[in-house]
Subunit: 152 residues, 2 copies
């Protein structure tokens, strides 16, 4: 995915420095995975990341992708988005919790512009006594394109 605003660069550099400060090794495979996570805005799955990196590193294994994802999740630099079917998709461009729109037909994932929900966690914490650490808010339905085709 294109990254017109250069935020992907920023994300990439940040992720690298966080790995470095924790003394994790910057191997070529790892860098390639991190770069996709930093720049890609389509919320790829592990195997989609695998296929893309494998074009450059044909010997790459899925296990390596998962191990890198695990590291970045721990560091809070990647958001894991669980699907109803049990698979996961990843977002390293916007690593903090945010709402998603998930199309049940084409399976694309969108990041809507919605009013801030930042207070949500604090509100719930206050009201329930639960110590809230993160949340997820996902909407399932049909994107405008698929809603159209459904009728036509």
């Amino acid at each position: 995915m294109a990254d017109r605003e250069g935020k992907g660069d920023e994300r990439f550099r940040r992720m690298l420095s966080r790995l470095k400060e924790r003394r994790f090794r910057l191997t070529p495979q790892r860098l390639a995975v991190v770069e996709i996570l930093a720049r890609d805005r389509t919320h790829p799955s592990a195997s989609e990341i695998y296929e893309r990196v494998r074009q450059r590193f044909p010997t790459l294994s899925l296990a390596t992708v998962y191990k890198t994802l695990f590291l970045l999740k721990e560091l809070g630099e990647v958001l894991e988005l669980g699907f109803p079917d049990g698979s996961n998709h990843y977002d390293g461009y916007h690593p903090r919790p945010h709402p998603h729109l998930i199309c049940l037909r084409c399976r694309k994932i969108f990041d809507p512009e919605l009013k801030r929900l930042d207070d949500l966690e604090k509100q719930v914490q206050r009201r329930t006594g639960f110590r809230v650490l993160s949340h997820r808010l996902d909407f399932f339905g049909l994107c405008p394109e698929c809603a159209k085709e459904k009728k036509g």
Copy 2:
């Protein structure tokens, strides 16, 4: 789980009549699974349901549990709650989307009393052009009990 208000009964009867009207057979195994879903408020997983029903029907198979869950999901009489680890939990007592509080330590699931979020889907629909059919809103953290023990 106890069901002091009799809402579980109501749910049970409703689920039965919906199955009947669609001409699905009311086998003893199926009834036992439905009854747990209607009354249980702990959000059990498929295998938890399986273990409980197996006390009465030792030959029950997990496949049968899953097939019943599939039916009830289709009918909108059971809510499937996907966990980050890929497993699912089920709620036939409150089958419409509602927020959950999920404790990362004891793994219990709570139904908080929160202000209505019913308009949420409509709001998002208006703002994004997406045809919203359902949603999920989950908070992850530590329940009051586990937050206490964490310190102690």
